[in-house]
C-alpha cells in the first residue's frame, strides 16, 4: 500500500482578482490564504504520515517568484523533511523554471523534475518500489504533447505515478491549452495514478486508474468557486481510493437572493443578513457575491442606492472574527420581463446589430479606441467571444433599462 498527497496549483502569493478596498483583517486573510492552504496540505501529509507528496505545477503564481513565497515554501518543505517525507515537485506554466530569477535552495527531500519527462524512484517504508514520472515547464507556453515522452509503466515499479501539469483535451477551460493530452494517452501508459495539475476546478477524469485534477488549493477569484484542497490518495494491489481535504481558508461563493416584495433598503438589508446568517458557522471565511432578483417592488431610490454601492458599503461594515463573511459585490439582476418595443418595431435590425457586434472585428472596431491606445491591454481580459458576449449582454440590458426608465433624460444637452 502506498499513500500520498496530491496537490497542484498552489499559486503562492497570488493576489485575489476582482476586489476593491476592504478592512485590514480581510486583506490579511487574503495575503495568508494561499500560504495557509499550503500549510494545511503539509499538516495533512504529516498527520497522515504519507509516503510522499506530489505537487503538480504552479507552486508560485508568477515566474518571478517572490522571495517570500519561496522562503515560505522552503520552510514548509523543511517541515516535511523533518518527517522524512519526500516531495515530488514539477513546475507549471506559471512558475516555469526558465527564468533567470532567484531560486532558493530547497531541502533535500524535495525532488524537482526537469524539462524532459523523467522518473524518480522511491522505496517506501513497506519496501514497495514507487516510480514517479513527470516534467517541469521551462517556458510559459508548452504546446507540444509532453505525454508522448512519458515512459510506459516500469516492470520493476510496484506503483507508478504520473505527474502532469497540462490540459486534458475535451475540457471546457479558460486555462491555456498547454501540454495537451487525452485520457486515452494517459491510460495507455498503464500507470497506477495520474496526478494532474493546471485546471483549477477539481475533477476526477477517470476511476481506473484514478486520473485527477485536484484543483487549486485556494480559490483566488469569483470564478474559482467550489472545493479547494488536495487529494489523499491510497493505492493498494486491489484498490485505489482518494479522499479530498479542503485547504482553502477563503471560499468564493455566488448566491442569488430573492427580494420579492421588498420595497425599501431595510427589507433588502434584512433579507441579505438573514441569508448570510445561514451561511455562517462554516470552517472558513467566505467571499460572497450576491445577485438580487425579484426586485420589482423596490423603490427607485433604493435601486439607485444599491447600484451605487451604498448597500454593499453598509454590508461591508463587519467586525473581525474567525470565520467572517465578506460580501464583495451586490447586483440587481435585470428583470426577465423585457420591453421589446423597439426590437418589436424593428426586430430584424436590432437582431442584426447584435449579431454583428458579437463578431470580433466589429466589436474590436468599436472598442479599439481604447484597446489600441493603451499599453495595459495585456493586463485586461482579452476580447474573446465570452467577453464580447458578456459585454453585449450588458449593453443590451442597459439600452433596455434606460429606455424603460420613466421620463428618461429629457433635458439632455
Amino acid at each position: 500500500m502506498v499513500q500520498f498527497i496530491h496537490g497542484a496549483d498552489l499559486h503562492l502569493d497570488s493576489p485575489f482578482i476582482g476586489l476593491k478596498s476592504m478592512p485590514e483583517f480581510v486583506w490579511q486573510a487574503i495575503y495568508r490564504s494561499t500560504f495557509e492552504a499550503l500549510s494545511k496540505l503539509v499538516d495533512i501529509a504529516i498527520e497522515k504520515e504519507v509516503d510522499f507528496v506530489c505537487l503538480v505545477g504552479d507552486i508560485y503564481d508568477s515566474d518571478d517568484r517572490s522571495v517570500k513565497a519561496q522562503a515560505f515554501f522552503r520552510n514548509e518543505m523543511e517541515r516535511l523533511n523533518e518527517k522524512k517525507i519526500p516531495v515530488y515537485l514539477s513546475h507549471g506554466n506559471h512558475d516555469y523554471i526558465g527564468n533567470q530569477g532567484l531560486h532558493l535552495a530547497m531541502p533535500e527531500n524535495v525532488i524537482i523534475f526537469g524539462e524532459i519527462p523523467e522518473t524518480h524512484w522511491l522505496t517506501t517504508k513497506q519496501n514497495e518500489k514507487i516510480a514517479v514520472t513527470g516534467f517541469s515547464y521551462t517556458k510559459r507556453w508548452i504546446t507540444e504533447r509532453k505525454i508522448v515522452d512519458y515512459p510506459k509503466k516500469y516492470d520493476e515499479a510496484d506503483y507508478q505515478i504520473g505527474m502532469l501539469h497540462g490540459f486534458s483535451e475535451g475540457l471546457e477551460s479558460e486555462h491555456g491549452k498547454y501540454a495537451p493530452f487525452t485520457l486515452r494517452e494517459l491510460k495507455n501508459k498503464q500507470y497506477d495514478y495520474w496526478a494532474l495539475g493546471h485546471i483549477h476546478k477539481r475533477q476526477q477524469l477517470a476511476a481506473h486508474p484514478l486520473i485527477i485534477y485536484p484543483g487549486n488549493t485556494q480559490g483566488r477569484n469569483s470564478k474559482e468557486t467550489g472545493p479547494k484542497g488536495c487529494e489523499l490518495v491510497t493505492l493498494t494491489d486491489t484498490n485505489e481510493q482518494n479522499e479530498f481535504f479542503s485547504t482553502a481558508t477563503i471560499y468564493w461563493e455566488k448566491i442569488e437572493i430573492s427580494i420579492k416584495g421588498s420595497v425599501n433598503l431595510d427589507d433588502v438589508y434584512t433579507s441579505i443578513q438573514q441569508e448570510i446568517l445561514d451561511k455562517k458557522n462554516m470552517s472558513n471565511n467566505l467571499f460572497i457575491s450576491i445577485n438580487l432578483k425579484d426586485s420589482e417592488a423596490l423603490l427607485d431610490g433604493v435601486r439607485k442606492k444599491i447600484s451605487q454601492g451604498e448597500l454593499l458599503e453598509a454590508l461591508q461594515q463587519i467586525v473581525q472574527e474567525d470565520n467572517f463573511i465578506w460580501i464583495y459585490r451586490i447586483e440587481l439582476v435585470a428583470e426577465e420581463r423585457e420591453n421589446e418595443q423597439y426590437s418589436q418595431l424593428f426586430p430584424e435590425e436590432w437582431q442584426k446589430a447584435l449579431i454583428e457586434l458579437e463578431e470580433e472585428g466589429y466589436f474590436n472596431e468599436v472598442t479599439n479606441s481604447f484597446f489600441d491606445y493603451t499599453e495595459l491591454s495585456d493586463l485586461l481580459d482579452s476580447r474573446d467571444s465570452l467577453y464580447r458576449k458578456n459585454i453585449i449582454e450588458r449593453a443590451k440590458n442597459q439600452v433596455k433599462s434606460l429606455l424603460t426608465v420613466e421620463g428618461s433624460d429629457e433635458s439632455e444637452n
Binding site: 502569493d13 497570488s14 493576489p15 485575489f16 482578482i17 476582482g18 476586489l19 476593491k20 478596498s21 486583506w27 487574503i30 495575503y31 503564481d61 518571478d64 517572490s66 522571495v67 517570500k68 522562503a71 515560505f72 530569477g101 532567484l102 423603490l299 427607485d300 420591453n339 421589446e340 418595443q341 423597439y342 418589436q344 418595431l345 424593428f346 430584424e348 435590425e349 436590432w350 442584426k352 446589430a353 447584435l354 454583428e356 457586434l357 468599436v366 472598442t367 479606441s369 481604447f370 495595459l376 493586463l379 485586461l380 458578456n390 459585454i391 453585449i392 450588458r394 449593453a395 442597459q398 439600452v399 429606455l403 424603460t404 426608465v405 420613466e406 421620463g407 428618461s408 429629457e410 439632455e412
Partner: protein, 948 residues
C-alpha cells in the same frame, strides 16, 4: 386601434364623464386648466396603467369621488369592439378587458391590444408636443442630420439620444489623451503600481546578491578559521614545549644533583628500627617515671601527721595517762556532785535571807546582846507614850473642825438675809432719823474681820501646802524608807491644803437690794444682825482652840520622829532588815541563827570542792602536751577524756596502715631496678644502629636518612620527567633557549588574533546578510503590492468593461438605426416627401437620403442639406418624418396619435397645412388633437369637436 368612447369614473377633475362617438380625427378644445392634460393622462393610464405611487407622474386620484379609473371602448382590427376598464387595484390598477365575444381578459390581453408597447415608447412615438420641435431649434447642425435620420428610421429621436448618452458616458470614462476620465486615472494608477511592483521585484535580485555575498563571507570565514585552527594547534605544541621547558631544565638539574651526591645505602627499615627502639626506650622511661611518681605518692601517703608522731613519741606517757582516766572520772563526778550541793545550799540561804527581809548582798546580823535588848525595851516604851498623846490631840482637832463648820454654815445663812449696810443705814435713817453709828461701825468691822479671818485661814492652808511640798521633795530625794514615808505625807498635806483652800473660797457675801422694806423687815434685820454677831464670836473661840491643838500635835509628831530616827539608827547599825519594827526587836527571838548555821555548812563543802579541783588541774597539766594535736574544749574535762580516748584508738590503727605502705614501697624499688636495666639494653641497641650508618647520634642518623630519601625521590622524578618530555625532546632542542620559544609563540598568537578578528568581521557581515535575507523573505510589502495591483487591475477591468458596454450600447443603437434606415427609410421617405410637400405647399418636391445624409430638393430642383434649411422648414421636415414613420408603422403598431397643441407656433398658413396633414393621417390612424386655440374650431366638423 380606434378609441370610440371614453368613460371616466373618477380621474383628477373628471368625475363620471363620458365622451362618446369619438371620430377618427377628434379635437378636444378647452381653455387652460380645462382638463386636457388630465384627459390625455387618463387615456394613457387606462392603456398602460396608473402611475405608481413612487412615479414622478401625477396619479390624478380624485379627491372627491371614491371611484378611480374609467373605461375606454375601442375598435381593434383584430378583436373588434373591446372595452378596457381600469379601476383602483394593485400597483397599476385592476384591468378588465371585455372582448366582443364576451371573453374577459386582463393585463396580458391588454398588452396584446397595445402591441406590447409601454407608456414611454407610446409617448415617444405617438405623442406630439412642443418639445420635439423645440429640440430642433436647439439642435446644432451636425446633430440635426442624425436626428432627422433617427426620426425617419426609428420614428423618434429617443434612441438616438440614448446612443448619444452612451457615447457621452463612455467619453466621461475614457479619453485617449485625457488625464481626468476615470479610466485614464486608473491606468496611471495601475502603471504606478506596476512600477512599484517592479521595484519590489527588484528585491529578488537584491536577495540573490546578498545571498552570494553571504556565501562568499561564509567561504572566507571558513578559510580563515582553518588557518587559525592550524595556528592554534601549532601554538598548542609550542605552549607544551614552553610548559615542558621547566621539566627539561629540571631533568638536567636533577641529573647533576644525583651525580654529585654519594649516599650510603640505608636499609629500608632503618628508620623504622630507630623509631621502634626510641619507642621502647620511651616506654621504659615512662614506666620509670610512673613508678617514681607512684612511690612518691606512697611516700606522701606514709608521711606522719603531727599527732601521729606525737603519739609515737609519747606513746608510753599517753598509755599511762589513759590508765588514770577512770580515777579522774570519779573525781570529776564527785566534784560535780559537790558543786550541785553547794549551789543548792546557797540558793536556800539566799531564799532565807529574803524571807528575813535581808537584801541578797546583806550580811547576816550578828546575834543581839543583852545590853542591846535593854536599850530596845526603853525605846519601845517612849514611842508608845508619844503615840498616845498624838492620838488625843488629833481627836480634839476633829471635833473643833466640826464646830467651826456648823458655825460657819449658820453665819452664811444669816448673812444671806441681811441687808447691805447702805440700805440698812437708809432704812435706819428713815425710821429713826437719829444716826445709829453702831450699825455702821459694826457693819464695817464685821467686814474687816471677815476679810482678815479669811486671810488667816489662807495663810494656814498655804503653810500646810508648803510644808507638804517640802516633805514631798525631801522624801523623794531621800531614798530611804523614811524618805518615801516623808514624801507620802508631804503629798497628803498638799492635797489637804488644796481642799481647804477651795472650801474657803466659797465664802461669799450676798448683797441684796430691797426697794420695799417694811418696818417689820427693818426690825427683823436688827434681830438678824444680833444673831450674826453672836455667832461670829463663837466661831472666833473655836478657831483659837484649834490653834492650840495644832501646836500640840506638832510637838508630839516631832517627838515621835526623833524616836523613830533612833530606831532606824539601830537597824542600820546592826544590819537588820529595813522593815524591822521595835516590837519585833523586843518581842521576837533572833531569826538569823539557823541561817548562820547553813552558811557554815556550805563553807565546809566548798573547801572540799577546792581540793577536788586542784587534783583535776594537776591531771590536766599532765595531758596538756597534747593540746597542739587535739582540738577540743580544753576547759571541759569530759571532752578531754573522750578526745584522749579517741585519739589513742585512731593513732593505733594509723600505725598499722603506715607499716603496710612501707612494705609496698620496698617491692617497688626492686621492680624499678629491673626496668632501668631493660632501658639501658635498648639504648645499647640504638647505639649499634647509629654506628651501622656511621651516625654520631640520632640527629645525624635522621639527617642521613632524609638525604637518602630525597635522593630516591629525585631519581623517581627524573624517570617521570624523562617519560613526559620524551616526544618533545627533539623539538625542544630546536630552540636555543626559552626566550626563543616564547618569541615564536608570541608570533603565532598574534597571527591567531588577527585571524579571529577577520573571522568575526566576516561572521558579522554574514549575520547582517542573513538578517537582510530574512527581512526579504518576510516580503509582506510585495504581497501587499501584488494584491493592490490585482485590485487596481480589477477596477480598471471593471471600468473598461463599463466603457466597452457604453460603446457597444451606443453602437448597437446606431447599427440598428442604420439597418432600419436601410430597410424602412425608403418607404417612409415616400410618405415623408408627400407630407413635406403638403406642409410646404409644394415648395419642396423631394426628400432624399444620400450617404447617410438627408437632403431635400426644392421645387426648382436644387438640393439642400438639412443644415441649410430654415428653422420653420426644419420643423416641417421633422413633422413630416414623424408622421410618415407612424403611418408606416401602422402595419405593426396601430395606436392613436395624440397631439398636445404641438403646432401652436406655426403661422397661419402652415397651421392650415398641418390640419390638412392631420386629416390625411387620420385616414389610417386616429388622431386626438388637444388644443386651446379657437381657430381650430372652424377647421373641423362639429361632431369632431369635444368642448371641454
Amino acid at each position: 386601434m380606434k378609441i370610440k368612447s371614453i368613460e371616466i369614473y373618477g380621474f383628477g377633475k373628471w368625475i363620471d364623464k363620458k365622451f362618446v362617438n369619438l371620430e377618427q380625427t377628434q379635437l378636444f378644445y378647452g381653455e387652460n386648466e380645462a382638463g386636457k392634460t388630465t384627459l390625455m393622462s387618463f387615456i394613457h393610464s387606462i392603456l398602460f396603467g396608473f402611475p405608481t405611487k413612487q412615479s414622478s407622474d401625477l396619479r390624478y386620484e380624485p379627491k372627491i369621488s371614491s371611484k378611480y379609473g374609467g373605461k375606454l371602448v375601442i375598435e381593434d382590427d383584430r378583436y373588434g369592439e373591446v372595452s378596457i376598464e381600469r379601476v383602483k387595484g394593485k400597483s397599476n390598477g385592476k384591468v378588465t378587458v371585455v372582448l366582443p365575444n364576451g371573453q374577459i381578459g386582463s393585463d396580458k390581453l391588454l398588452e396584446k391590444l397595445v402591441y406590447g408597447m409601454d407608456k414611454t415608447t407610446y409617448q415617444a412615438l405617438f405623442s406630439f408636443d412642443l418639445f420635439g420641435l423645440q429640440k430642433i431649434q436647439r439642435m446644432n447642425k451636425a446633430k440635426l442630420n442624425r436626428y432627422f435620420l433617427s426620426v425617419g428610421s426609428l420614428g423618434n429621436e429617443q434612441l438616438l439620444k440614448l446612443a448619444d448618452k452612451f457615447q457621452l458616458e463612455a467619453g466621461k470614462l475614457y479619453k485617449q489623451t485625457g488625464r481626468v476620465p476615470d479610466i485614464n486615472k486608473k491606468i496611471s494608477e495601475v502603471q504606478n503600481k506596476r512600477q512599484q511592483l517592479r521595484i519590489a521585484k527588484g528585491k529578488n535580485d537584491q536577495y540573490t546578491q546578498i545571498y552570494f555575498e553571504k556565501e562568499n563571507y561564509e567561504q572566507e570565514a571558513k578559510e580563515v578559521r582553518e588557518t587559525r585552527t592550524k595556528n592554534e594547534s601549532h601554538l598548542e605544541q609550542l605552549s607544551r614545549l614552553a610548559a615542558n621547558w621547566s621539566y627539561f631544565s629540571e631533568i638536567i638539574a636533577i641529573q647533576e644533583d644525583i651525580r654529585k651526591t654519594s649516599i650510603k645505602n640505608m636499609p629500608q627499615d632503618s628508620l623504622f628500627q630507630l623509631n621502634h627502639l626510641n619507642q621502647s626506650i620511651d616506654q621504659y622511661k615512662t614506666k620509670i617515671m610512673q613508678e617514681k611518681e607512684r612511690s612518691k605518692q606512697a611516700l606522701e601517703k606514709s608521711h606522719l601527721t603531727k599527732s601521729q608522731s606525737l603519739f609515737i613519741e609519747q606513746k608510753e606517757e599517753i598509755q599511762r595517762i589513759l590508765s588514770t582516766i577512770d580515777s579522774t572520772k570519779a573525781i570529776l563526778q564527785e566534784k560535780d556532785f559537790l558543786e550541785r550541793e553547794v549551789k543548792k545550799e546557797m540558793e536556800q540561804i539566799l531564799r532565807n535571807k529574803l524571807q528575813l527581809h535581808l537584801t541578797i548582798g546583806q550580811q547576816i546580823p550578828t546575834a543581839q546582846t543583852a545590853e542591846q535588848k535593854k536599850e530596845y525595851q526603853k525605846l519601845y516604851q517612849s514611842i508608845l507614850a508619844v503615840e498616845c498623846a498624838l492620838q488625843e490631840a488629833i481627836e480634839k482637832k476633829t471635833f473643833l473642825a466640826y464646830q467651826e463648820n456648823s458655825l460657819s454654815e449658820q453665819i452664811d445663812k444669816i448673812e444671806s438675809d441681811i441687808w447691805t449696810n447702805h440700805l440698812f443705814q437708809e432704812v435706819k435713817k428713815k425710821y429713826e432719823q437719829s444716826g445709829n453709828s453702831q450699825h455702821d461701825l459694826g457693819q464695817s468691822r464685821l467686814t474687816k474681820e471677815k476679810s482678815s479671818d479669811i486671810k488667816v485661814i489662807r495663810f494656814k492652808v498655804g503653810l500646810i501646802g508648803v510644808l507638804g511640798a517640802f516633805l514631798a521633795v525631801f522624801g523623794f530625794i531621800s531614798t530611804s524608807q523614811l524618805g518615801f514615808f516623808l514624801a507620802l505625807s508631804g503629798v497628803t498635806m498638799i492635797g489637804l491644803a488644796g481642799l481647804l483652800y477651795s472650801k474657803k473660797k466659797h465664802v461669799k457675801i450676798v448683797n441684796e437690794d430691797k426697794s420695799t422694806n417694811t418696818y417689820a423687815d427693818y426690825i427683823k434685820q436688827i434681830e438678824l444682825r444680833k444673831q450674826w454677831r453672836t455667832q461670829l464670836a463663837e466661831i472666833d473661840q473655836v478657831i483659837m482652840e484649834s490653834k492650840e491643838i495644832l501646836e500640840t500635835i506638832e510637838k508630839n509628831t516631832n517627838e515621835k520622829k526623833e524616836l523613830i530616827n533612833k530606831l532606824n539608827q539601830i537597824i542600820i547599825e546592826n544590819g537588820y532588815p529595813e522593815n524591822t519594827t521595835i516590837e519585833s526587836l523586843v518581842h521576837k527571838e533572833d531569826p538569823f541563827d539557823s541561817l548562820r548555821e547553813r552558811v557554815r555548812a556550805v563553807e565546809e563543802k566548798e573547801e572540799l570542792l577546792n581540793q577536788l579541783v586542784k587534783q583535776l588541774v594537776q591531771w590536766k597539766k599532765q595531758v596538756q602536751f597534747l593540746e597542739s594535736v587535739l582540738i577540743l574544749d580544753w576547759e571541759h574535762y569530759p571532752s578531754i577524756i573522750e578526745g584522749m580516748t579517741k585519739f589513742y584508738q585512731e593513732s593505733l590503727s594509723n600505725e598499722q596502715k603506715f607499716l603496710s605502705i612501707q612494705n609496698e614501697e620496698e617491692s617497688r624499688q626492686k621492680e624499678m631496678k629491673k626496668i632501668i636495666y631493660e632501658q639501658r639494653n635498648f639504648e645499647q641497641q640504638r647505639m649499634t644502629l647509629f654506628q651501622s650508618v656511621e651516625a654520631k647520634n640520632e640527629e645525624d642518623f635522621r639527617k642521613k636518612f632524609i638525604l637518602f630519601d630525597e635522593w630516591k625521590r629525585k631519581k623517581a622524578r627524573l624517570k617521570l620527567l624523562e617519560q613526559q618530555v620524551s616526544e618533545d625532546i627533539k623539538l625542544l632542542e630546536q630552540f636555543r633557549d626559552k626566550e626563543d620559544l616564547v618569541k615564536q609563540m608570541d608570533k603565532v598568537k598574534k597571527s591567531i588574533e588577527l585571524h579571529k578578528v577577520s573571522e568575526e568581521t566576516l561572521m558579522n557581515k554574514r549575520i547582517k546578510n542573513e538578517l537582510a535575507l530574512k527581512e526579504l523573505e518576510k516580503g509582506g510589502e510585495y504581497s501587499v503590492l501584488l494584491q493592490e495591483y490585482a485590485n487596481l487591475k480589477s477596477e480598471l477591468q471593471e471600468l473598461v468593461d463599463m466603457w466597452s458596454t457604453h460603446k457597444v450600447a451606443a453602437e448597437l443603437i446606431e447599427r440598428a438605426m442604420t439597418h432600419a434606415r436601410k430597410n424602412r427609410f425608403p418607404e417612409t421617405l415616400q410618405d415623408t416627401t408627400k407630407y413635406f410637400e403638403l406642409l410646404t405647399k409644394g415648395q419642396y418636391k423631394q426628400v432624399l437620403i444620400k450617404e447617410e445624409k438627408i437632403e431635400v430638393q426644392r421645387r426648382d430642383g436644387s438640393l439642400f442639406d438639412v443644415l441649410e434649411l430654415s428653422q420653420s422648414t426644419a420643423e416641417q421636415l421633422y413633422v413630416a418624418l414623424r408622421f410618415a414613420f407612424v403611418k408606416n408603422a401602422t402595419d405593426i403598431v396601430k395606436l392613436p396619435i395624440m397631439i398636445d397643441d404641438g403646432f401652436v407656433n406655426f403661422d397661419q398658413s402652415r397651421r392650415v397645412q398641418m390640419i390638412e396633414l392631420i386629416k390625411q393621417i387620420s385616414k389610417t390612424t386616429q388622431v386626438f388633437y388637444f388644443t386651446f386655440d379657437q381657430q381650430y374650431l372652424t377647421k373641423f366638423r362639429k361632431d369632431q369637436i369635444e368642448m371641454l
